[in-house]
């Protein structure tokens, strides 16, 4: 504080806030800052394990997409790009409110924090709702892998009323069988993603309750920050899933 400028007062005030004692400080940390850094570092490492977890599925996708490209394209066309696109938009919006929530916690605006968390939750639930509609359609069409899986739609595609031709190229039965692998990966990857969303929504309810109590309005923002990291991670996984699963026929491989 050697150069006394107009801002020095606000700086000092800011620093005073930094050093304020928070009741959430744990005894084994030397300083509050150390606790906060350790928490966020731990969260990043946890996300790294999540990447490796999803990585196994992405690896399987990579392998089978190369082996069974035709079946993957045909099966991919069964997914609704408008619904997937809508869900992408919804999730990005939810992420936007989460980012706002982190900011609101840092500047200690309690009401804003609560409302942004509520919006984050609502958009998260909307995502799950649309996902449910999509899953339900697959269930009705017998596109869920397992004993009742039905490939007839890929062998004899429905006739398009306008052109009088099949709506897409019919697949030979052995190739059509491989669509099951696509649908399995679709359900495994989006299902695992949806599970992470549901866990996240559960945590959001808990955070909203605590935010309402004012837990995060006195300089202790670590849970909001770390949950934000988690929520954005779940967003990013979807941003990889959407093009891989829904859009692979937009740029067909040359063959």
């Amino acid at each position: 504080m050697d150069n006394a400028t107009a801002t020095s007062e606000t700086v000092m005030e800011h620093e005073a806030h930094e050093h304020v004692y928070v009741p959430q400080h744990r005894h084994h940390f030397e300083t509050e800052q150390q606790q906060r850094e350790a928490g966020s570092f731990g969260m990043w490492l946890f996300l790294l394990t999540e990447i490796m977890f999803f990585g196994g599925l992405f690896f399987a996708y990579l392998l089978y997409r190369n082996w069974y490209y035709d079946a993957f394209v045909a099966a991919s066309n069964q997914l609704s790009v408008p619904l997937g696109g809508a869900n992408t938009a919804i999730l990005i919006t939810s992420g936007f409110f989460m980012a706002l929530a982190v900011w609101a916690a840092e500047v200690r605006k309690k009401q804003m924090l609560v409302w942004t968390l509520v919006f984050t939750t609502l958009f998260g639930i909307a995502f799950i709702g649309i996902k449910y509609v999509e899953y339900k359609e697959k269930w009705e069409k017998h596109h869920i892998p397992g004993a009742s899986f039905d490939v007839s739609e890929f062998i004899n595609p429905p006739i398009d009323a306008k052109t009088g031709k099949p709506s897409q190229n019919p697949l030979p039965p052995d190739v059509a069988q491989h669509t099951q692998i696509f649908f399995f990966l679709y359900f495994a990857m989006t299902g695992m993603h949806a599970l992470h969303m549901i866990i996240g929504i559960g945590l959001l309810f808990w955070l909203i309750g605590r935010a309402q109590r004012g837990d995060f309005s006195a300089g202790y923002v670590a849970p909001i920050e770390n949950f934000g990291l988690y929520w954005h991670f779940v967003d990013i996984v979807w941003l990889f899933l959407f093009p891989l699963l829904y859009l692979i026929n937009r740029h067909p491989l040359a063959h």
Binding site: H28, E37, L45, G56, P145, G146, A147, Q177, I181
Partner: protein
């Protein structure tokens, strides 16, 4: 102290010495205070008890296997039962003993103290990891009661998904849960090392024990989730027939192998690296010298962790992988031998011109160095493609990994338990008896597993409960050795339990060791340090220790 020249052990005067009244064991009373504790030392004790239980369960299965193999005929148990025996032995020993052995017990206890911290970064997650371990363990026991599982610990598809009618899903779930326990331990260690070091504790002042745990933690955090997803896929395949590993539906069983070994090869380094950390501490203390080439040993741990991720395909050489990739993986496999050799050579140079004494931990450490070297070198054999085709799926493999895992890791674990026992409990174990146990273990081990190298080379396949009569002599030797080995493992549990009450009081620093953990009282306080220490010297600085103790001695005199 009849022969003060042959030992560095210095115990306080027993007529006046007392174990400190206030320590982490006496801090709180009652079972709940243990089950809900956040103290890393107490959690380490909980882990120590639970992994010992599982070690003896897994050991009992090993005994039954050796008993069956005493005669060439399948006369003790049916073939299915035999399959269940070796599966249970593998699952328990790998996931419930070896993986958590050193990190979750000694690592948990010592890591914060060595770094000058009061606790690990996340005490509650640490406790959670123990509970996950217990849940995983109970699920394995449940499987056992329900009728067992016979896939082998590798859950190989399509065997595990299509051909067996045993409890694959329960076991798989158990491994999944236990895996998360290991992830949380690793995560806790990495954060603690990065964020909780005391003032002056730079990266290159950390004990090598910490370095090797750091490397192992990286493997736990990056490898275990891949195992988790592989196991989830096996369970889904079994429950719903989704086809991802089923060739008739276009799936690929080899994909499972890739995913499984991507974890399970690094897993062997998760098992061995913490043991190497123990050996570094023990060798330095009992030769009164700084570890030769400290930096090289530290980096070799990280190098092992790094290389360890790029060798998994050597488990699959005979499974129809591309010859070109097999060539690359063979080369990478041999490269892992380099950092391992760096460690062995550096320990040898530490011994050179050191003032060596032969206390129990040192005997175990010598056992480690010899047996690990044999285990490691046979690994290079197996890494070369031609040899692998001849030797894979034989007893040569069994002997190889038992030399590394049992001869290496278990020796290191026992070295560590003996070395830090006075610190953990405040009491000393009986020295002569423990030296005897170390020697018995070494003899028993060699008797058990050296014959298996020959058996394997002659072509005896693993995982069968019957064999041609000409192999009987070597199998009898091996079974006899297993009995000796069993005694070698029973002894420590008896005298260590005895020492809890009747052992001589150990004092703060019975070994005159330099580590921070030896500068505090034994057993330590719940908060470890009365005030956070400042690290003002290098690791293994025996001059510093001498200067530190000198003034105290003069004032007492």
């Amino acid at each position: 102290m009849s022969e003060p020249d042959n030992t560095i052990l210095r115990l306080p005067d027993q007529s006046t010495a007392r174990v400190p009244k206030k320590n982490f064991i006496t801090a709180e009373d009652g079972l709940l205070s243990w089950l809900l504790t956040g103290d890393h030392k107490r959690i380490a004790m909980l882990y120590l008890i639970s992994i010992t239980v599982f070690f003896f369960i897994g050991g009992a299965f090993a005994g039954l296997i050796r008993l069956e193999l005493l005669t060439p005929q399948p006369d003790l148990v049916a073939s299915d039962t035999y399959n269940k025996f070796f599966t249970m032995h593998g699952v328990i020993m790998v996931f419930l003993f070896l993986v958590p052995s050193v990190p979750a017990t000694l690592g948990n206890f010592l890591m914060p103290i060595m770094l000058g911290a009061r606790d690990l970064a996340f005490p509650k997650i640490n406790l959670l990891s123990w509970y996950l371990y217990v849940v995983g363990g109970i699920m394995v026991l449940t499987t056992m009661v329900l009728g067992g599982v016979d896939t082998g610990w590798t859950f190989t598809t399509p065997l595990s998904t299509h051909y067996l009618n045993t409890h694959v899903v329960t076991t798989g779930l158990a491994v999944f849960v236990a895996g998360f326990s290991s992830i949380f331990t690793g995560l806790n260690f990495i954060v603690t090392i990065h964020r909780m070091r005391c003032p002056g504790m730079t990266w290159f002042r950390m004990p090598l024990f910490v370095w090797s745990h750091y490397a192992a933690s990286i493997l736990m955090v990056l490898g275990t989730p891949v195992l988790a997803i592989a196991i989830v896929l096996v369970m889904l395949e079994r429950l719903f027939g989704i086809g991802v590993f089923d060739p008739t539906k276009g799936g690929d069983p080899l994909l499972f192998q890739h995913l499984f070994w991507f974890y399970s090869h690094p897993a062997v380094y998760i098992m061995i690296l913490p043991g190497m950390g123990v050996i570094s501490e023990v060798i330095s203390t009992f030769s009164r010298k700084r570890v030769f080439g400290y930096t090289a040993v530290a980096f070799s741990s990280v190098a092992i962790a790094l290389f360890g991720f790029f060798v998994w395909e050597h488990h699959m050489f005979i499974m129809g992988v591309s010859n070109y990739s097999a060539l690359v993986f063979s080369l990478l496999t041999m490269l892992v031998a380099v950092p391992s050799a760096i460690k062995i050579f550096n320990w040898s140079f530490t011994l050179q011109q050191g003032s060596i004494t032969f206390e129990t931990p040192m005997l175990y450490a010598f056992g480690f160095m010899g047996l690990f070297t044999i285990g490691g070198l046979t690994g290079v054999y197996l890494g070369s493609l031609g040899m692998d085709i001849h030797l894979t799926e034989t007893y040569f493999i069994v002997a190889h990994f038992h030399f590394v895992m049992v001869g290496g890791m278990l020796m290191a674990f026992l070295a560590g338990v003996h070395f830090w026992w006075p610190k953990m409990t405040g009491r000393m174990y009986p020295e002569t008896l423990s030296k005897m146990a170390a020697v018995i273990t070494f003899i028993g081990f060699n008797l058990t597993f050296l014959p298996q190298f020959i058996l394997g080379y002659l072509g005896m396949p693993r995982r069968y409960h019957a064999y041609p009569p000409e192999f009987q002599i070597l199998n009898v030797l091996s079974t006899a050795g297993a009995t000796v080995l069993g005694i070698g493992y029973m002894l420590p549990i008896l005298y260590l339990a005895w020492s809890l009450k009747y052992g001589p009081v150990a004092g703060d620093n019975p070994w005159q060791a330099t580590g921070l953990e030896w500068q505090i009282q034994s057993p330590p306080l719940t908060e470890n340090f009365t005030e956070i220490p400042i690290m003002d010297h290098e690791a293994y600085d025996y001059d510093w220790l001498e200067h530190k103790t000198k003034p105290e001695v003069t004032t007492v005199g």
